[in-house]
Structure formats: C-alpha cells, structure tokens
C-alpha cells in the first residue's frame, strides 16, 4: 500500500511549520509575580522557583560566598539583587534565569535594600564598615558612606531597611548609632545620625507603613525605637524587658528582625537567648504577651494576613517550626520539616509557606490552612527564600 503523495506533502508542511517553533528556544511569555529565589548557600547558586507550580524553573551559578545572603527585588519584579557575604552584589534576571552583572563592592557584607523609587540599591557592609549605594540598572557606584565613629574607626553596619523618600535606615553595631541616609540627591547624600541608642544593635526593622524603626540590642536589654515621622523626638527605649535579662543565656544564632514581625497592631519579636516570643502593641509600644516556644527563635514571621505567626529556632532546636495563632496567642502547630531549618517565606497572600531545611537538602512547602505538605523540592544546603512579592513592601 502506498501513501498518497498529498498526505505525505501535508505531513511535511506540518513538520516544517512546527519544528522551527520547537527549536526557537523562545520561552512562552509569563509574569514574575509568583516567582522567587532560593539561596543554595554553599554552592554559590540560586534556584529560581515558581510558587504557583511549586517547582524549580531555573538555576543561576557563580554568585560567590552566599552564607548569610539576602535578596531584594526590582519593582518590576524581574531582577533579583543578591547580597553575598563576600561583598558580592549580583543582579540576576529571574525571567531569563541569567546573571546580568556581578560586582564585588566590599570585603564582607550583611545585606542591602532597594530605594522607594527602585533606582538605588544600598549595601550594608561589615568590612569596610559602611553603606555603599549603586544604580539599580547598571550597578555603577553612586555613593559611599563610611560608618565612621569615634576617632575615625569604622563600624559594622546592620539592620538596613528602606524608608519612604529614597532613604535608608541602618544601625552601627560598634558605634551604638542609628543613621538615616537620604539619597534623594544621590550625588550629595544627607546623613542624619542618632547617638547612644543602646549597646550593640544587632538588627533592625521598619514597620510595614515605613514609620517606625526598631533596633534590637545585643549589649543590653530593650529595643531602640525611632519614629521616622518625628525624628526630632529622638530615640525611645521600649520593651525594657526585651533582651537577655538578668541571667544572660547563650545565643546560638542572632535573631533576625524585619517588617514581617508585624501582624495587625501587634509586633512579634524573637526573644534573645530565651525560649519566648515577645508581643508588643504597635500603638503604645508596651509588651502585651510572652509566648513560650520550643527554642531560641530566629525568624518570627507573620503570615501576610496576620492570623498566624510562624517561627524557626537556633541550634540545637533548629529542626522545628512552630505556628502561633495570633487570636489566642497559643502555639497551634509544631512541624519538623527537616534538619537545620534556616528560613521560611510566605507566598504573596500566605496560602502556603516555603521552609528551607539545610542539612536535609530540601525545601518543604506547607499549606498554611491545614499544615499539609504540598511539595518537597531538592536543594543543596538551602538557606534564604525570597519571593518577588517583597518588591512592593516597604522595609524589604
């Protein structure tokens, strides 16, 4: 039996039409609002993930030392700026899965922030202590603000966050100061300094409205609070009972502070050394509760709707994750996602949470309504998880 020539010709036409499409390599159009990145900290690599499909869609290598790496996003949610411990600043195109540009801007850095208008990326450095500011599009240097104190010493910079008005606020670990750098005119930045805020600020957060800056203190009890709407009022010391207290307990990992601590009108703070979460009212700044938890909390993160607060712990309780119901102030769930849980991140509206378990080389995705495991993704020593929804939040 022979195949009629017309049918053969038809097949040929079809193939010749389809093949170029398959080979052209042009990915289908998509948005980036449901994407994010996961740091593979010992591999110097990030995974690009899709929170709608719960899967890994790309990998980008060559980002240097990513221990304690953090990420901010461009306002179009296409570019991730990755701050590495080695002073590296990398701009990654998460849509194409490609490293756009990488510079090494310092010797030892801790994190960074992106300005309100999205044009400036600021890096907080331990070494040399200070702030460096770069153009977000080209990573060309724009401003260098050494954290000078005393007789010319440089302080490590911690707790950086963006403030409205293209300003950055941060703390000087060695100098007990809070600085606000105003970069509306990037060529001549103005710096406002607040002295004697308390000993050894270790991290800071800006409330989601961009109004208050809270610096946690390692050297003494309490939290330094600055109302950035009324900076002339100076630093207030709040939560005098927050800290290591009379009996100083060893701290196996510094807690992290960020605007995610605020749920409704309450802020949930990791106690230092103690197995507690401190709750304070964001109007009166008075303590309202102390919630006993499994270990020393590191990340205490409110689900975007504020109904739940999830937390992980320092060594040796770092295999656990607990969930607080903010209505009752009680622990309602204890999970064991794997060994050495380093970080957790909610999807934009919080129906799911992604948790990294470093020593089990996996990231676990949970349904936050019923705590069911939705997915498990292999990752090499995963640490930080960052979703593009951060792009539109003040203080991230």
């Amino acid at each position: 039996m022979t195949i009629p020539k017309t049918i053969l010709f038809g097949w040929w036409m079809l193939l010749s039409l389809l093949l170029p499409l398959a080979w052209s390599g042009e990915p289908p159009l998509r948005g980036t609002g449901d994407l994010g990145v996961i740091i593979e900290r010992s591999a110097g690599r990030i995974l690009i993930v899709d929170t709608s499909g719960n899967n890994v869609i790309g990998r980008v290598d060559g980002l240097g030392d990513l221990s304690h790496a953090s990420v901010v996003f461009s306002r179009d949610q296409r570019y991730a700026y990755v701050f590495g411990r080695d002073g590296g600043l990398s701009k990654v195109d998460i849509l194409r899965g490609a490293l756009e540009k990488r510079i090494v801007q310092g010797g030892n850095s801790i994190g960074g922030a992106i300005s309100q208008d999205g044009r400036l990326v600021a890096v907080a450095n331990y070494e040399p202590g200070g702030l460096k500011v770069f153009a977000a599009d080209t990573l060309e240097p724009v401003a260098d603000i050494p954290a000078t104190y005393g007789d010319g010493k440089l302080s490590k910079v911690v707790g950086i966050a963006d403030l409205p008005g293209d300003r950055f606020i941060y703390s000087l670990f060695d100098a007990d100061q809070i600085w606000i750098a105003d970069l509306r005119d990037p060529k001549s930045p103005k710096v406002e300094k607040f002295n004697g805020i308390g000993r050894a600020p270790y991290d800071g957060l800006v409330t989601p409205d961009g109004r208050y800056y809270l610096a946690g203190l390692f050297g003494e009890d309490g939290i330094a609070l600055l109302d950035t709407w009324q900076p002339q009022r100076g630093i207030q010391r709040i939560l005098a009972s927050y800290g290591q207290g009379e009996q100083k307990l060893p701290v196996y990992k510094m807690p992290h502070l960020r605007g995610w601590a605020v749920a409704g009108h309450q802020v949930y703070l990791p106690a230092i050394g103690h197995h507690e979460v401190l709750v304070a009212d964001t109007l009166s700044w008075k303590e309202t509760a102390r919630i006993p938890v499994r270990g020393q909390p590191v990340f205490v993160v409110a689900r975007p709707d504020g109904r739940q607060v999830w937390l992980n712990f320092a060594f040796p309780d770092n295999g656990f994750v607990q969930v607080i119901d903010t209505l009752t102030g009680r622990i309602i769930q204890t999970l064991e996602p794997g060994k050495a849980v380093l970080h957790l991140e909610f999807t934009p509206r919080g129906e799911a949470v992604w948790v990294s378990a470093r020593d089990d080389n996996r990231v676990v995705v949970y349904d936050t309504a019923n705590f069911a495991k939705l997915a498990e993704l292999p990752a090499a020593s995963p640490s930080g998880i960052f979703f593009t929804s951060r792009a539109h939040r003040i203080g991230f």
């Binding site: 221990s67 411990r85 030892n108 801790i110 060893p250 196996y252 050495a340």
Partner: protein, 140 residues
Amino acid sequence: MRPRRWSFKRSPLDARSTREGVFFVGSQQIRLLIWLASGLLCGSLVLADELPTPSLERSRELIRMVRQDCGSCHGLTLRGGLGPALLPEALRDKPPAGLKYTILFGRPGTAMPPWKPFLSEAEADWIVAQLLRGFPEESK
C-alpha cells in the same frame, strides 16, 4: 555585672572586629586567673595530638557544625562576620588553650556562646587544632 575580657593579646585584625568599651572591660584579677588557667591548659594541650581524634562520622559532624553554625556569625568561609575571622593568620598569636576555653565556655559580654553542651573537651581541642592549620571543607 560588667563584661570582662579574656586575656588574649589582640592582633590588629581582632581589634578591628571587637567592640571596645562594651565587650572588653578589663579586670586584672580575672585576667590573671585566666592567664594561669591557660598556662596550665597549654601543658595539657601539648598532649592534644595524642588524644583520640573523633571518629570519621563525628569529625564530619564537627566540620559541619563549625562551617555552618559557627559560620552563621564567623562566616561560612570563617573570614568573619559579626564575629571575628577564624582563619589561621587571625588566630596564630592567641594561646590555643584560650581558644579552646572560648569555644567551650564562650566569651562573657560578647555574642560568643558556650558550646560545652555540644562538645567534649577533646573535640574542642581538635577543633582548635584544625582551625590553626586551616579548617577543613565539608565533604559533599
């Protein structure tokens, strides 16, 4: 209680990464005591090489612990972070016994916690010896 200070001679690198006046208020008596203690310990540390080295599995755990958990303050590469660098050149002029004591008992008044609940003395000795010769990488 005022924070006190260990008796290490500070190298320029150390001085850069510590907080003067906050974490390091000197107390002569304590300093003397620690000097004496480190002297005694130095004697026992000479024997460290003869101490049993940890099993292969345990040494893997220790390497992971130093790289990852100590690394959260001192950096994964141990080049320093909030805590000072732990590279051989940064530690060379510090008495090994003092280093061991710092690991086991922490440094009061600083962020350095005591690791004694998780380590034996012999394991702390082993970690000090490894740090001084350049700490091993984690095996994959």
